[in-house]
């Protein structure tokens, strides 16, 4: 991988953006890089002395720009790519991710990387799926489940996701089902444990399908309570918390190892904003060394091992489910 970036700007200093800035703090002290952000709130950040505060009129131009704003991020990404910046997006909105994927050729033409979906799901889910898939001879199913939310924008997005149309890949075709259907009890790493998870309008399936083109089945579910499902089609009745509690991710990869059909499971449990901050920071550090064009977590060309090592050194503990019986029924 190339050296770390000389300058990084973080746009959006909410629950996620402030975590990205904290994670990138050592860049300033150890490598003399420039770290900048708009609207830095000292109480939230805690490391303002190391961050250059930009005013509204100032350009965000830097070697790498991390977008940690609410969706949509596509217009800002387009503008930054044209300025020659590597862009790391944390969006998980389906429409936004579709449009970000369309910017791949622009990024390639400008010789920069556009990381679409540097969050928990999409993001860490793709990295874990790729990591697990390397232990198998052939992968044919990827199933992701997520629990929890980051900041208020993330909570609103998840509320909308439960009331929309879920996207899944099933035997060579897109499967559109009402979000909130397809209940499945998923075991997350402790302390979260078992949670009922349902289909939701999340963009992860879209990106996983691009990263794992040969996989026959992809599903993405999120945990929800009965109240969440009943109120999903109504406006949020109370404003979301500044930050959600402990979140979790579970990635299950099924495939073949020799003659055996095997299921491998990995995950994490940490505050969603902390995990997203770590993933976005890891991609920001790696961005100058990535291939120009669209970069998706889980893509075989992405340095998955190095990114996962970086993420785990940033305080996100990664787990795998180890049982005596890994073999699954065909």
């Amino acid at each position: 991988m190339k050296a770390s970036p000389a300058s990084v700007t973080v746009i959006g200093v909410g629950a996620v953006g402030s975590r990205v800035l904290r994670q990138l703090g050592p860049l300033v002290t150890a490598h003399g890089a420039t770290l900048a952000a708009y609207d830095v709130r000292p109480m939230r950040l805690g490391t303002t002395s190391r961050v250059q505060v930009l005013t509204a009129g100032q350009s965000a131009q830097a070697e790498v720009v991390v977008l940690a704003t609410p969706s949509p991020q596509v217009d800002r990404a387009d503008e930054l790519l044209r300025q020659g910046c590597h862009v790391v997006c944390t969006s998980d909105d389906v429409a936004d991710l579709r449009q970000l994927c369309d910017l791949g050729s622009l990024a390639q033409a400008n010789g920069v990387a556009l990381v679409a979906g540097a969050a928990v799901t999409p993001g860490l889910s793709g990295l874990l799926a790729r990591h697990l898939s390397r232990r198998l001879d052939r992968v044919d199913e990827v199933h992701v489940a997520v629990h929890g939310t980051g900041g208020p924008a993330c909570a609103r997005q998840h509320h909308r996701a439960l009331g929309g149309r879920a996207l899944g890949w099933h035997d060579g075709d897109w499967l559109h089902r009402p979000a909130g259907s397809g209940r499945e009890l998923c075991w997350f790493p402790e302390p979260i444990g078992p949670r009922d998870c349902y289909r939701a309008e999340l963009g992860d399936a879209l990106l996983l399908h691009r990263a794992f083109a040969d996989v026959q089945r992809i599903s993405v579910r999120m945990s929800a309570t009965r109240r969440d499902r009943l109120t999903s089609r109504l406006p949020m009745l109370s404003p979301p918390h500044d930050e959600g509690g402990i979140g979790a991710l579970r990635v299950e990869v099924r495939g073949w190892k020799g003659p055996r059909r095997v299921a491998l499971i990995a995950g994490e449990s940490e505050r969603a904003a902390v995990t997203t901050g770590a993933v976005a920071a890891a991609f920001a550090m790696a961005a100058p060394g990535l291939e120009p064009g669209l970069v998706l977590a889980g893509d075989d060309r992405v340095p998955t091992g190095a990114l996962l090592r970086d993420i785990s050194t940033r305080g996100v503990r990664l787990w795998e489910f180890a049982g005596d019986d890994h073999e699954v029924m065909t």
Binding site: H131, L185, L230, R309, S312, L318, E320, D324, D325
Partner: protein
Amino acid sequence: MALTLAGTIAAALRVRGRGGVPPRQGGWRQLDVSS
């Protein structure tokens, strides 16, 4: 009346859902990403 009844049953089924199957053995261990 019939529509109301059908809607009520569908809503009850949607909220209740079906049960899952708990894992019978195994546990979580730290993922090795060193290689």
